[in-house]
């Protein structure tokens, strides 16, 4: 059972890594807006066929 002296601290290091990843993502703003990205993933990434000039007033 003395393996616990190694395994438990090791597990805590893994936890520390996970917490660090979470803190990084929270600070980076990944949880700022929880609604829009869920809608955004519905969109395909396909490139548009062509571009048009900006519509002018009254178009």
């Amino acid at each position: 059972m003395s393996v616990l002296f190694i395994v438990v601290p090791l597990a805590l290091i893994v936890v520390a890594a996970a917490v660090a990843a979470y803190v990084w993502s929270a600070r980076g703003g990944q949880f700022d807006d929880l609604d829009t990205p869920a809608l955004r993933m519905l969109h395909d990434d396909e490139a548009p066929a062509s571009r048009v000039a900006p519509p002018t007033k009254g178009a």
Binding site: M1, L4, F5, V8, P9, L12, V15, A18, V19, Y22, V23, A26, R27, G29, F31, D32, D33, D35, T36, L39, R40, L42, H43, D44, E46, A47, P48, A49, S50, R51, V52, P54, P55, T56, K57, G58, A59
Partner: protein, 835 residues
């Protein structure tokens, strides 16, 4: 892409426009499976989307929504330097950034479309939309594209942009939110691990765990707990310190004492290797309290955003005409009484004033809620924020900026919103008593047990502080409210603040606006007297007309087949004459038709001309039918009002419309004569709400204001609970606590029922939490509580509250039975029964 529009989800009689979903006039329907359009504008928008490869818009669109609305403004003021100083931020790479509040954002296709703006406009680097607050963050290169053309593009797509002032505060909030989320994450991870260690200790202890492992686990718990207290837990200590300095009792105080005492005692026990360590309880306490606080904070913020949005609605610059005739742009803040200002067609008036030159029509919907434009000539008084529709006019400024009528109304909205704070204060006071009681009990426990040894007395007192911790109590309300608000949103009711739900549990005063709230707020066919057979002929005549009345007929009979028309002649302001199938058909005002046909006097007499505008139909020189045109009462209004009255609500009709019209509509909906008030200005509406608030016999009786226009905004903000209905003005929705996202007022009934159920869940939660606390206090004071019991009771009470909140059926999640959509169906029988 040729997808037949809404037919997949909704029964549409006739043909629906591929772009906007409205019925296509018979005359414009062409054969084949291709796209169909109700007007040239929709066709143009469709072509833009198609040619840019953006046709997927139609796949993401939520088809129940209202048709696309655009303002058609020029947005020239967006390019003014003074505007830039107020709203635009410069960022690296020579780019600029702005946050725009967009009207009409509601679904996935909006995100998709807005975020494709960079594809439409070279020079726009990024466009990001936050759906929840309708805020678009746009980054662009000012040397390549002007802000006004970005604004015009957004407007053409159907999202009228307004500059958003709260950018700096927004940045601060975002930082706060991120810091809070980091704290919650760290606290959660530590709590989970310390509890695992504690579990090993509780399970292994009685069975003779080897002392060296016990020691290891206790020391590891200590090592983990210290950062949890120092980093996420620190806000409780700063809060408690603040409360001590201001000599008030705050929830943070016993929490800080429990945390401090628990950690100190636990650390001493760890070092001396004796007694309980409390670390699991301490860590879980920090985590759960942070979660509760975060949920509460978010709820309050949505309510606070309201006032910011209101300011976005007024124009920011004005075109001043100097004495020498030179035009000069000036920020609105620089306007002084007496200045001459030029206002072009499609622009909002920047100040209150009197028209000196020019003739135009003005849309005052923003102030009065009246949707019909009024004509304005020299000498007419106009107000800031209202829209100049048809021609340029010159204006002499009378009142500007903060003294304009709009600014005064908006200020009242803000003040009313701030006055709501006392409810929150009361909650804090109550928690103060709770805190005091817990502290007194802890001291008593200590004094009772100190004779049996100081260490034991400390243990029992700390156990009491931890076990009575207001964890479950703090979570009880926010969890139940969050769950209810989420469910309500799915049922079409948008709730901004949880306190609104609490107020709605008792029946009280219900004050309703008429135009746009109880009625549809637009021209519709209300009554039809005469021969049904002439309907197709009449529709044929009206098919090509853009008049609002023609539009009303088209909406009323969307499925009717029409026949071709010959010799069509429009007489502006009077009527239409044409030949259909060899018959001469005349449609128009009674006077117009009387010149060309005979009879029909008894038909006209049947129509209540005092309320409805009569339209007479004659075929071959004989009057055959009379149609009554007016603002139709919503189909569900009578039933919903009856249901609310049965629940004990006292209803009042409060309208800006003429008293005579208000009385007619009110009487039909079952209002008693003394409950009908017509001809009320925005200020009078506000005064009435304040009067009702002052007069009520019992403070628990809420005063609820339901409305749709800016003229209702101040009254809505002043009421205990303000409700904005579907299709209302943005300013009204911003000041409302609750916003209905489906048409009609039937959701009000569901809202009241849902509030009652939510409060039931909250009371049950608090009951559970207090029950746990009472048992905990009894056990701790009698010294029976073991660390194991304390550790089990804490999460168990929070878990009960959590489950209770999520399982409580506050609002039905299922889609309610929808009424027939008037835009597409509108059977004539309903029209007549409503009349």
């Amino acid at each position: 892409m040729t997808r037949a529009a809404p037919s997949s989800r909704e029964p549409v009689i006739g043909t629906a426009c591929t772009h906007c979903g409205l019925a296509v006039p018979r005359a414009l329907v062409h054969d084949g499976d291709g796209p169909q359009f109700c007007c040239a504008g929709c066709h143009a928008a469709y072509d833009i989307l198609q040619s840019s490869g953006l046709s997927q818009y139609y796949a993401f669109r939520d088809k129940r929504e209202v048709p696309v609305r655009r303002s058609g403004r020029s947005f020239e003021e967006f390019d003014h330097p003074a505007f830039g100083e107020l709203y635009v931020q410069g960022i690296e790479g020579g780019r600029s950034r702005i946050e725009l509040y967009l009207e009409g954002v509601h679904c996935a296709s909006c995100v998709w479309l807005v975020e494709r703006v960079p594809l439409l406009l070279p020079g726009v680097a990024r466009a990001e939309l936050e759906v929840r607050r309708s805020l678009a963050r746009i980054e662009w290169d000012a040397s390549m594209v002007s802000l006004s053309s970005i604004a015009r593009t957004l407007d053409q797509l159907g999202y009228t942009p307004h500059p958003f002032r709260g950018v700096a505060r927004d940045e601060m909030r975002r930082r706060e939110d991120r810091a809070m989320l980091t704290r919650i994450g760290v606290a959660g991870a530590i709590a989970g691990n310390v509890m695992l260690l504690a579990l090993a200790l509780y399970a292994g202890g009685p069975h003779g765990m080897e002392p060296r492992y016990v020691l290891l686990f206790r020391w590891l718990s200590l090592v983990l707990t210290i950062p949890a207290v120092l980093y996420p837990g620190r806000i409780f200590f700063t809060g408690a310190w603040g409360a001590l300095r201001s000599r008030t009792l705050h929830m943070d105080l016993p929490i800080a004492i429990a945390l401090g005492a628990g950690v100190t005692r636990g650390a001493i026990n760890t070092i001396t290797d004796s007694g309980p360590i409390y670390f699991d309880g301490v860590c879980l306490l920090i985590f759960l309290l942070l979660v509760g606080r975060f949920l509460q904070q978010r709820g309050q913020r949505t309510a606070n955003d309201a006032a910011e949005l209101l300011y976005a609605l007024t124009p920011t610059t004005a075109r001043v005409i100097e004495d020498d005739g030179v035009e000069r742009d000036l920020p609105v803040v620089g306007l002084l009484p007496g200045m001459q200002v030029l206002v072009r067609a499609g622009e909002s008036f920047p100040a209150d004033g009197v028209i000196t030159v020019g003739e135009s029509s003005v849309n005052s919907a923003l102030l009065t809620g009246e949707s019909h434009p009024t004509s304005a000539t020299a000498g007419t008084a106009v107000f800031a924020g209202t829209l100049n529709l048809t021609a340029p006019v010159q204006l002499r400024v009378e009142e500007s900026g903060a003294s304009s009528r709009l600014a005064k109304i908006l200020r009242q909205v803000e003040e009313s919103a701030q006055r709501r704070a006392p409810v929150v204060l009361l909650a804090n006071q109550l928690s103060g008593y709770f805190v005091g009681a817990v502290l007194v009990l802890a001291v008593i426990t200590f004094l009772v047990w100190v004779s049996r040894g100081e260490a034991r007395a400390w243990d029992h007192a700390i156990a009491l502080l931890i076990v009575t911790c207001p964890c479950a109590l703090a979570l009880a309300t926010p969890l139940a409210v969050t769950a209810a608000v989420g469910r309500a949103a799915r049922a079409g009711i948008f709730i901004k603040g949880g306190d609104a739900l609490e107020s709605l549990t008792h029946p009280g005063e219900l004050i309703l606006d008429k135009t746009g709230t109880l009625t549809e707020g637009r021209t519709s066919l209300v009554r039809w007297i005469g021969d049904d057979a002439v309907k197709p002929m009449m529709l044929a005549l009206e098919a090509g007309s853009s008049h609002p009345i023609a539009d009303g007929f088209r909406r009323a009979w969307p499925g009717l087949a029409t026949t071709p028309v010959q010799d069509l002649a429009h007489h502006v302001g009077a009527g239409i004459v044409g030949t259909v199938d060899g018959h001469v058909v005349v449609v128009g005002s009674p006077a117009f038709v009387a010149e060309r046909a005979t009879g029909g006097a008894q038909l006209l007499a049947q129509l209540d001309a005092s309320e409805l505008t009569p339209v007479v139909v004659a075929v071959d020189g004989l009057v055959v039918a009379v149609a009554g045109i007016g603002d139709r009462v919503r189909d569900d209004a009578a039933a919903a009002l009856a249901a609310l009255r049965r629940r004990g609500w006292r209803t009042t009709l409060l309208s800006g419309d003429a008293p005579r019209v208000a009385a007619l509509v009110g009487a039909r909906l079952g209002f008693a004569p003394e409950e009908i008030i017509g001809g009320a200005s925005p200020e009078q509406k506000l005064a009435l709400v304040r009067e009702r608030l002052a007069q009520r016999s019992d403070a628990t009786r809420p005063v609820v204001m339901v409305g749709d226009g800016v003229n209702d905004a101040a009254a809505i903000a002043a009421a205990t609970v303000g409700v904005g209905v579907h299709g209302g003005a943005e300013a009204c929705l911003a000041s409302a606590d609750i916003y209905l996202t489906t048409p009609g007022i039937e959701p009000l009934v569901r809202l009241v029922e849902g509030s009652a159920r939510t409060m039931h869940v909250i009371r049950r939660n608090i009951g559970f939490a207090l029950g746990y606390n009472a048992v905990g206090v009894a056990l701790a004071m009698s010294g029976l509580i073991s660390p194991l019991v304390a550790a089990l009771m804490m999460p168990a009470s929070s878990l009960t509250v959590l489950l209770g909140s999520w399982l409580g059926r506050s609002f039905e999640a299922a889609d309610p039975p929808r009424l027939l959509d008037r835009d597409t169906v509108g059977p004539v029988s309903t029209l007549e029964s409503a009349a």
